[in-house]
Symmetry: C2
Subunit: 311 residues, 2 copies
Amino acid sequence: MPQTTPVIALHGGAGTILKSNMTPELEAAYHAALRTCLEAGLAVLRNGGTSLDAVTASVVELEDNPLFNAGRGAVYTTDATHEMDAAIMNGATRDCGAISGICGPRHPILAARAVMEKTEHVFLAGDGARRFCETADLEMQDAEWFGTEQRLKALKAEMERRRSGLADDGDPARKHGTVGAVALDRFGHLAAATSTGGMTAKTPGRVGDSPVIGAGTWADDATAAISATGHGEYFIRQVVGHEIDARMRWAGQDLGTASGSVVSELGVMGGSGGLICVDAKGNIALPFNSPGMYRAWCGKDGVVHTAIYRD
Amino acid sequence: MPQTTPVIALHGGAGTILKSNMTPELEAAYHAALRTCLEAGLAVLRNGGTSLDAVTASVVELEDNPLFNAGRGAVYTTDATHEMDAAIMNGATRDCGAISGICGPRHPILAARAVMEKTEHVFLAGDGARRFCETADLEMQDAEWFGTEQRLKALKAEMERRRSGLADDGDPARKHGTVGAVALDRFGHLAAATSTGGMTAKTPGRVGDSPVIGAGTWADDATAAISATGHGEYFIRQVVGHEIDARMRWAGQDLGTASGSVVSELGVMGGSGGLICVDAKGNIALPFNSPGMYRAWCGKDGVVHTAIYRD
């Protein structure tokens, strides 16, 4: 069996805090969190585990950290509820699982994985999805467990802004945050996982790109594993993940060219955000058109990197 | 403005009744229904209307006809409820709207169109989607209105089969039915619409390919308008609509080659079904790998055709 050097990358959302609002302490906390979450997946890979288990491990850590908009720390809908979405895809088989509109499982990514592994379906949403979670042997938490002071403040500020008719302050942190991971394991297999609380003050029932296979989440050993973060409606209309796949497969583009051009075109349309991707050779690309994207990666050189803004 | 000859095609699902169970009376009823539904959209086009209005008009007719699994005549979930999905896409702008898991609007396709036209979102599911429908000025019906004796019988037979552990009888009519329409208007614009009750005895909350933009529904003036019908999980994993688009755009394939090869590859994977598509030159392709697909079309020659089996 060929031994590939394992590679992993993750994002904590393209909706970074405006640089003007960032403090050195908070910035350090983000870098430390990104490193910890990356190392969770990296440890799986270095112990000979699969890319599927590695992206799961990293997203589980990201979901538990209230700094990121997924799992604990998920944003609120206009009803002040949480509705979480997640998806996972195995590049070796194109098996996938997605779930939308749930609040219950501590780890929505494990709910998505249960859809993939325990049902004949690939996508469950709403009430039925919540009922499935109760039978899927997942750790459950009360709605309060997911909430944080900071997210509630963001909801109130956004509702107040809408009531008063004030212009958007352009803070991307309120608009979109998502977490995700992509990995290549030593067996040459790719996997991708994405999890999110959605947009602050979203309409209940809104499905973003994260659980839409081909849009926010995609993996195929023949091309790449991709996890996106951004203004989901644009990412759905561009079928972002599958579009990168298609440019690699049908136009012979490399990972950097395909992913970079797709993210640029999103920007031209008004779709802000970014994505992380890795191909079967272990190349990594982390393009974004927003002011920043929380991200961490460990490529073929084996060195862990973390970054927030463009530099 | 260039005047293109308008073209339209529709399907009433690839889950046709087994030829052995078909009677001459029922077959005649299907052909008549397919013609009526096609003519609804064709009239819009011939009166100078848009492809978006034409596919809406045809799908509205298909939804009202209990012969087809969408709107009235939708199949039942394991809970003996209806959960309907629909999506619509405008090839001129890539605007789109999708809805999943609803029971209320007489015409789910109008609910999908309302998501596109009245919200900043593209996809709503579950409770939130149902609540949106109540505010969207749509004609609503009680759950009983959608039910038919025949669909209830199909649910009971399937539940009985599962209880008794009998093998599947291979009747595709129980597995998947969907309706959809694609059109090219005189302005050269494409549109696609899809609506479905899903699979008989599906898990509540299951989302199939119909409302997944890029999978069961796709339209882009640069390539084609596509509406799929079949075993949705496979169609999601292959991102069927967008894959045909990608082969046309990036590999220079024509509509027939791209759609035919995608449907063949689905068959190899075990994904039964088919799709209807039209390109910006007015070419139509109606490939399927199942025993039949209810379909009707009117191409550049202006003649209405209807068909069920491979004949």
